[in-house]
Amino acid sequence: MDGELTRMTAADLAAAIAAGDVSAAEVTEAHLARIEEADPRVRAFLHVAGDQARAAARAVDERRAAGGELGPLAGVPLALKDVFTTIDMPTTCGSAILDGWCPPYDATITRRLREAGVVLLGKTNMDEFAMGSSTENSAFGPSHNPWDLDRVPGGSSGGSSAAVAAFEAPLGLGTDTGGSIRQPGAVCGVVGVKPTYGGNSRYGVVAFASSLDTPGPLARTVLDAALLHEVISGHDPCDSTSVDAPVPPVVAAARQADVSGMVIGVVPELGGEGIQPGVLAKFNESVELLESLGAKVTEVSCPHFSYALPAYYLIAPSEASSNLARFDAMRYGLRVGDDGTHSAEEVMALTREQGFGAEVKRRIMLGTYALSSGYYDAYYGKAQQVRTLIIRDFEAAFERVDVLISPTTPTTAFRLGERVDDPIAMYLADLYTIPADLAGNAALSVPCGLAPEDGLPVGLQVMAPVLADDRMYRVAAAVEAALDARRGYPLLNDARGLA
């Protein structure tokens, strides 16, 4: 029964709990057991909150027993990326500088999850301060891809993605700044969604790049992702950048799954040089599939997308260099060198030197450089102009098509250690995901098969206009249904890493 419980979707678990077929406590227990069994190999979790999870599950069961109303995900367990503040669990952001820090407040999303009766199993591993594409930048060691434990689970939300793919939780939450939900989703064979920027709250999400960071769901099915999307989304008065508009009807769209009559654009700039042949092959098959389902697929050039990567690697580090300045040993976190001989300035520098990893230091200095007087116009200023052009490319494209598609990543999961010494090679993992972050519109990755040369999962990226998140869910659900029907069993059954 336990093994079955961890194989169920969130939707089915919620229904079973609501119907009384199984208790929330049993569901939580089953997942805690699975974590104990699998996580020594996957290393998805930095902190497992067993007692709090059991208490939260008990509360759902008591509520049900008392005849109270249960939300659509009540009693369903979730793996929370360690970038969200939690009042009863540490929040490290994968960094030594915050090792042991217990926030005095919950993120708005954390609060919404608790109020919905979602059971927080614990905090998951991530690249330090969300900077990376593999979790190899975590101060606490990398996570491992359940498809092949010698490979990366992607990043920065690699821990949440791996947890979902390893059946340690049916739901995960991550944040996407340059692709950090979609890319790990793609390489782990799960659904990863970046909602419209501002569609939910960043209050309590430790900032990497403020104008790009977007919390979003990871799940094994499109419907599960949609259910979680609706629970976490909506305007927050504590976040000035959150959008005050109704949440797009993503659950309805996920159930509808019908693309007949839709016009779909393929972006040639996303999928050229450097793409792994098997990835391209799976993408082309997806195009054919969509056409067979009744969509019209056409090519739409977005010329400035070729500049998205350099623009991103100017904007994001610039904002990050400022956002991470607060980690200075004065109020919380690591303090090094306070022995009476060092000044405050020196203690700050010694602490940050020891507390930050190499990638974080690189990006802080890059950002400081790009914002410097004399360089601002040529670097940061120019990048923000390129951003405008990318937004215009999207707007022009969406006048002709309903959604845009591309492969999510140029390659399948690379090996641990393969790219750690080559920052630029690492950055290329985000090549296709970055444009949507810069423009703020909705994008997701849905599994579309296994690359023939390595048997590893490939993701199909679907991008929708700002606040039209439902459109991409419709397309993703259609692809998922068709592929599941063709295959006859869930994709993740083929993940042999934990066998």
Binding site: Y105, T196, Y332, L350, E353, A358, R362, I364, Q385
Partner: protein
């Protein structure tokens, strides 16, 4: 134009990072490559194109002048590296920055 090692040392000082000599060399080399790559944005003709600082165009988001409960001093100070007289104790500050 390659970035000079001295400039990288200056950036480290500005960012409050006490880099070791070897680390500085290593990072300087990497930064050089990265800066050359991101400089690609300068190829784009962008005369008259306004910069975008916010992807989604909101304006005038405000809150009203109404009190909200504060954190207790205990909650504020409990994670502090050093506390004295209910305040954060910090090492000697050199002259104002």
């Amino acid at each position: 134009m390659p970035i000079a090692r001295d400039d990288v040392a200056h950036l480290a000082r500005l960012s409050r990072l006490a880099l070791g000599e070897e680390e500085l060399d290593h990072l300087a080399a990497q930064l050089d490559v990265i800066i050359a790559a991101v400089a690609k944005v300068q190829e784009v003709a962008a005369d008259g194109i306004p910069p975008t600082s916010h992807a989604v165009p909101l304006v005038n988001v405000f809150r009203e002048d109404v009190l909200v409960e504060c954190l207790s001093a205990d909650a504020v100070l409990s994670q502090a590296p050093a506390v004295e007289q209910q305040r954060f104790r910090v090492p000697r500050i050199l002259a104002e920055d």
